[in-house]
């Protein structure tokens, strides 16, 4: 074994190894940071974990349940051992977070220093915490559960979120990608697959969770075909970035791809590093996220890539060896020790013992010895003869005792490893060794997460002793060490084969044609070329070594019932707990997972999955091939919730008069997609303040006594025209729309098939084939969908145009409205020429305006539908004309009160999913004679007629509360001590309904309300009790009399004046 070039360049600082060629740390750039307030130094390229380890930190945190000390176990976030609080953000993974200057790092689930945690005594009480104890012990008596829960939460758990902390600028981004082929994993197989697919001229996206490509080649210096493996990885990575697709001469794969001739353009491979994949979904949607580094404008960026084909080459991770105290700080994966030395230049230990079960870990032992790390012994759970003979020889050459058929049975030491006990798997051989690092694994397990979320069927393979995909979803291909391959040549060939198959799949899809594919001869030609390339790649892959046998060791030798041998580090799940689960009947992995919490922690499937399945099969006495994995849940790697929430843009619409209203002190509120003026003046921070209430009262009285202006632009406005326009209106509206005449507004409502009211509005006939109608602002967005849905079978010829944004709307309301309007138009708007419910085109300062004389607020009022760009102009004219009268704008809250006084309903406030059109007193709208146009809701209205026990809308006159004259904007009600919106309605102690809206009215001088109550109570003059909870536990009781709305101007004289 030779060490690659470049070793020895530059000096290493104290405590660090001389940087080798695969080292990713720049020792010329020191970075200062703090751990628990203690100053420490790392270097650019370090992760938080490698920097802490280099500074001598061995205990990274405490475990969830027993508060056992935990150290560095993995480097890719496979367990929660290294979850830390970084700069105030909890649960950051130290293993994958790059070190930045000035970081402040704290351990989690710890009282005080992790070395001397105050809850460490809990470890002695593990007998009291068997599997599922949480569910069994603390639920009796049930009322004490909240107390237990609080205590448990304090002692167990991971990070604590500070709801106030805002740690620095936190920019989130999202990217949506389209690719022909998406490759998951940027190791040797992934890179080969990306290159092969790109050679067919396809667009490829490659996602790699680490900051560099190369997978397990990236730090290996062992030579393979004349070059160190890390150089092989770098070569492949260079070809990817250069868009170079021709195979170099040295490559054993078939010569230049024939498709290159027809696709001379350089291949496009978009490589995303630092980008873990979170799942593969239906129709090959790959989701993931990119962790921002230096120079990135974001902290994390959500990725979604829709691909035609997916190659999963996610590689393998180490299967933990289950033995006594296998969680002690100082027990780690072979890859962790190896990469600490090779990638980060950190000496992992001063006396190392290996207990492993695969050749790669043996290579690690040899390489660590070469780097000057003393290796005391190497135990291999496989019997002699199953190893690569070259590696055995290399160990012997270096004088390292090699013990095939041995495995670790126990780690010694209380807070960290001081030694270990090795035993033979068969027989009684046993020896104790002193060490400060115990590298342990039970061989390899594939990273099946991406395949599992894609929907692949996995089965246990008794040759590789891993779960292998036996059936892949359409367009998903697996490659690399994931499939059990170990020889680098085989891995690369399998990647190439998967890439060719993916390309063939994509081109085949295109060639199959169909209306929406780029079909045709060209893609058929390319598909044929790709098929030939696949054949060549298949032949090449078959000529190379196939999957190598794996190791089936279940646990270390001599495991006893009392052993603290951890199957799951995150949730403190031990081998003993698995046995307990099985004994209680939770004897399949999916059940044990729920009962004992195995694999529910942050590491999810990764540490626990395969061991749990194997141990369970063993306990049940099933053959291993029947072992079933638990379901792998996305996200495979957890992005922060902020990333999933997205950048949080507040997208809203402003009315054409927004600026004008703002300059008049409007307080805006989001209403649907719109920002609407709620009221004017007052203190926006205190919605219910005296000043605001006073201002609101003024707005209301000014409309009642004088004249006011409302910006009602969000009102939905539609044109419908064509020969079948009337048919469509008749279908959707509940009234007889054929009664519409030019110059008249027809009021109607819209129901669904259950006869619930969805909307109301005015319909105006322009001519026999053309109508104009309004909807509520909330309904504007779904009107198109509704009309087209309910006419979808009819093949009618009509056009529906949404002109909501084309026209603004100004509501001029109050007894002086006509006098103001007269000053700005020459048209005859007298009561005779333009009566109530009329509709006219009038000219206001040269602007043609559609004017509807409606009365939602209960006064003489004109609704002017003005082209949006003229809204400000018309508004200014009206304000100028009304100045003598004291014209004032009013907001949404005033309108809400005004219309309620008049007894006009708002859908959603006075109607709900239990009441029909008839129940809310609007049955008169229904054209019951019409059975031809098949009105939506008409059959249900007929069926509900006379049905007993329905709710009815009634008016209320509230007896008490008149003393309070505070109408509160926003707050739903009339003030403290009186009922508010939502108060209960009681009759003889029984709840019979609820209050929809109630306000104190200055106009009336008493508090009115509208309520939905049971039919038998809805008798005019009846007395009911209103019950309100002012604060929890304090009930306010009021009397109310049932009256019939409208409360204000019941005859409607003011509307017609």
């Amino acid at each position: 074994m030779t060490v690659g070039r470049g070793e020895g360049v530059g000096g290493a600082p104290t405590g660090r190894l001389t940087p080798g060629p695969a080292c990713r740390v720049d020792f010329s750039r020191p970075l200062a940071f703090r751990f628990l307030g203690r100053p420490m130094t790392g270097f650019a390229g370090d992760t938080v974990a490698s920097a802490l380890y280099a500074n001598g930190v061995r205990i990274f945190g405490r475990s969830l349940k027993y508060h056992r000390p935990r150290g560095l176990y993995s480097l890719d976030g496979e367990s929660s051992n290294a979850l830390m609080e970084i700069d105030g953000v909890p649960n950051e993974c130290a293993e994958t977070t790059a070190l930045r200057v000035g970081m402040s790092i704290r351990a989690q689930n710890v009282r005080g220093d992790p070395r001397t945690d105050r809850f460490a005594f809990l470890d002695a009480f593990d007998r009291l915490m068997p599997a599922g104890f949480y569910y069994r012990l603390f639920h009796r008596p049930y009322r004490l559960w909240p107390l237990f829960q609080k205590g448990l939460r304090r002692m167990a758990g991971t990070g604590v979120l500070d709801p106030v902390a805002r740690p620095g600028p936190d920019v989130r981004a999202e990217r949506y990608l389209n690719a022909d082929v998406a490759v998951v994993g940027g190791g040797q197989a992934g890179m080969a697959a990306a290159l092969a697919a790109a050679e067919s001229g396809l667009r490829v996206c490659l996602f790699e969770r680490r900051g560099w490509l190369g997978g397990h080649l990236a730090w290996r210096v062992r030579e393979y075909e004349g070059e160190p493996q890390y150089e092989r990885a770098e070569g492949l990575a260079r070809r990817l970035s250069a868009g170079e697709t021709a195979a170099p001469a040295t490559h054993p794969a078939p010569a230049m791809h024939p498709a290159r001739a027809t696709h001379p353009a350089p291949a496009i491979v978009k490589v995303f590093t630092n980008s873990p994949v979170t799942g593969v979904w239906g129709e090959n949607l790959v989701t993931g996220f990119t962790v921002g580094g230096e120079g990135d404008p974001f902290r994390e960026c959500h990725l979604e890539c829709r691909a035609k084909a997916v190659v999963v080459a996610a590689g393998c991770m180490e299967r933990p060896l289950v033995f006594n105290h296998n969680d002690r700080p100082g027990v780690m994966q072979a890859g962790t020790a190896w990469r600490l030395a090779r990638t980060y230049g950190v000496k992992p230990g001063n006396a190392v013992v290996f207990s492993v079960a695969d050749d790669l870990s043996l290579e690690a032992a040899v390489d660590l010895a070469d780097l000057g790390v003393p290796v005391q012994a190497v135990a291999d759970a496989r019997e002699a003869g199953h190893q690569d003979p070259a590696l055995g020889a290399a160990l012997e050459e270096r004088g390292i005792p090699f013990l095939p058929g041995w495995a670790a049975s126990r780690a010694l030491g209380r807070k960290r490893v001081t030694g270990c006990e090795l035993r033979t798997l068969r027989g009684a051989g046993s020896r104790r060794l002193r060490c400060d690092l115990l590298v342990a694994n039970a061989g390899w397990q594939p990273g099946i997460g991406a395949l599992a979320t894609a929907g692949a069927r996995l089965a246990y393979c008794t040759h590789t002793h891993t779960f292998q995909p036996v059936q892949l979803p359409r367009g998903v291909f697996a490659a690399g060490s994931l499939t059990g391959l170990r020889d680098p040549r085989s891995i690369e060939a399998s990647g190439r084969l998967a890439g060719c198959r993916a390309a063939e799949w994509c081109l085949g899809e295109a060639a199959r044609g169909g209306r929406w594919n780029r079909g045709g001869a060209e893609s058929r030609g390319a598909a044929t070329v790709a098929a030939r390339a696949t054949e060549a790649a298949e032949r090449n892959a078959e000529s190379l070594p196939g999957p190598e046998p794996g190791c089936d060791i279940l646990h270390g030798p001599g495991i006893r019932r009392g052993a603290k041998a951890f199957v799951d580090l995150d949730e403190d799940g031990t081998w003993k707990n698995v046995v307990e689960s099985a004994a209680q009947g939770f004897d399949v992995p999916e059940l044990a997972k729920r009962f004992g919490g195995f694999g529910l922690g942050p590491g999810q499937y990764r540490v626990t999955g395969q061991n749990l399945a194997m141990i369970m099969a063993d306990l049940r006495g099933d053959p291993l091939e029947n072992a079933s994995p638990t379901t792998v849940r996305p996200p495979l790697v957890a992005p922060s919730l902020a990333t999933l929430a997205g950048p949080g843009h507040d997208v809203h619409k402003r009315t054409p008069l927004h600026g004008e209203l703002a300059s008049r002190g409007a307080v805006f509120r989001r209403a649907g997609p719109w920002l609407r003026a709620r009221h004017f003046g007052g203190d926006p921070r205190h919605g219910a303040s005296e000043a605001t209430a006073h201002r609101l009262r003024e707005e209301i009285l000014n409309v009642r006594r004088n004249v006011g202006l409302l910006d009602s632009s969000p009102l939905g406005k539609f044109r419908i025209f064509g020969p079948d326009a009337l048919n469509a209106l008749q279908r959707v509206y509940i009234s007889d729309i054929s009664r519409a005449r030019p110059g008249r507004c027809l009021y109607s409502a819209l129901c669904n098939d259950m006869a619930h009211v969805l909307d109301d509005g005015a319909i105006v006939m322009d001519n026999g084939r053309e109508y104009y109608f309004t909807t509520s602002s909330a309904r504007a967005g779904s009107t198109m969908e509704w009309f087209r849905y309910h006419t979808r079978h009819d093949g009618w010829d009509f056009h529906l145009v949404n002109v909501t944004d084309v026209f603004g709307s100004i509501n001029l309301a109050g007894p002086n409205a006509r006098r103001v309007l007269e000053r700005v138009t020459d048209d005859d708007i007298s009561n005779e020429a333009f009566p109530y419910m009329g509709c006219r085109w009038i000219t206001v300062g040269d602007v043609e305006v559609r004017c509807l004389r409606l009365g939602f607020v209960g006064e003489l009022s004109y609704e002017l539908h003005v082209p949006s760009s003229y809204c400000q102009f018309v508004w200014d004219l009206l304000v100028a004309a009304g100045a003598d009268f004291g014209i004032q704008p009013f907001g949404l809250e005033a309108q809400y009160c005004l219309r309620a006084e008049k007894g006009h309903i708002i859908v959603g406030a006075e109607s709900e999913a239990r009441v029909t059109l008839t129940d809310i007193g609007m049955g008169w709208l229904w054209d019951r004679e019409d059975t031809v146009s098949k009105k939506v809701g008409a059959p249900a209205l007929r069926a509900c007629e006379g049905q007993p026990g329905r709710l009815k809308l009634v008016g209320l006159r509230v007896r008490q509360g008149a003393g309070s004259s505070r109408a509160e904007p926003g707050a739903s009600g009339a003030g403290p001590g009186s009922p508010r919106d939502g108060a209960l309605v009681l009759d003889r102690g029984e709840i019979v309904g609820h209050v929809c809206t109630t306000r104190y009215s200055d106009t009336l001088g008493w508090q009115y309300g509208m309520a939905l109550v049971r039919e038998e109570v809805a008798v005019k003059g009846g007395r009911v009790v209103l019950q309100e909870e002012d604060a929890p536990g304090t009930k306010v009781i009021c009397m109310a009399t049932i009256v019939s709305p409208p409360f204000y101007d019941p005859g409607g004289e003011r509307l017609r004046a």
């Binding site: 929406w516 259950m754 969908e785 979808r792 009819d794 098949k934 249900a940």
Partner: protein, 102 residues
Amino acid sequence: MTFRLTCPVCGKRDICEFTFGGQERGPRPEQEGLSAEEHFRWVQFRMIPGGAEPAQGAGQRGWRQAALQQEWWYHGQGCGVWFRTTRDPATNREVEGDGGEG
């Protein structure tokens, strides 16, 4: 869960652009002489694709028991068309060539 649908106007688009309009259950029944029972059956009852027949009498309306489902979708974030497509709800796959009925 995610899949794509073929809009007859816009082609294959992501599912998030569409609104589901329910199973195809034929045109709105004639209202002359329509009983409440029949009406609510039409409004509320659905067939389980590939599953058992809905309770009594559902077969009268001519529903076939099938693993495929004919259904309506609205391309709200696109062209605004309602269209019918045949899909297998078990795999979320559209039946090839069936997208595009207006």
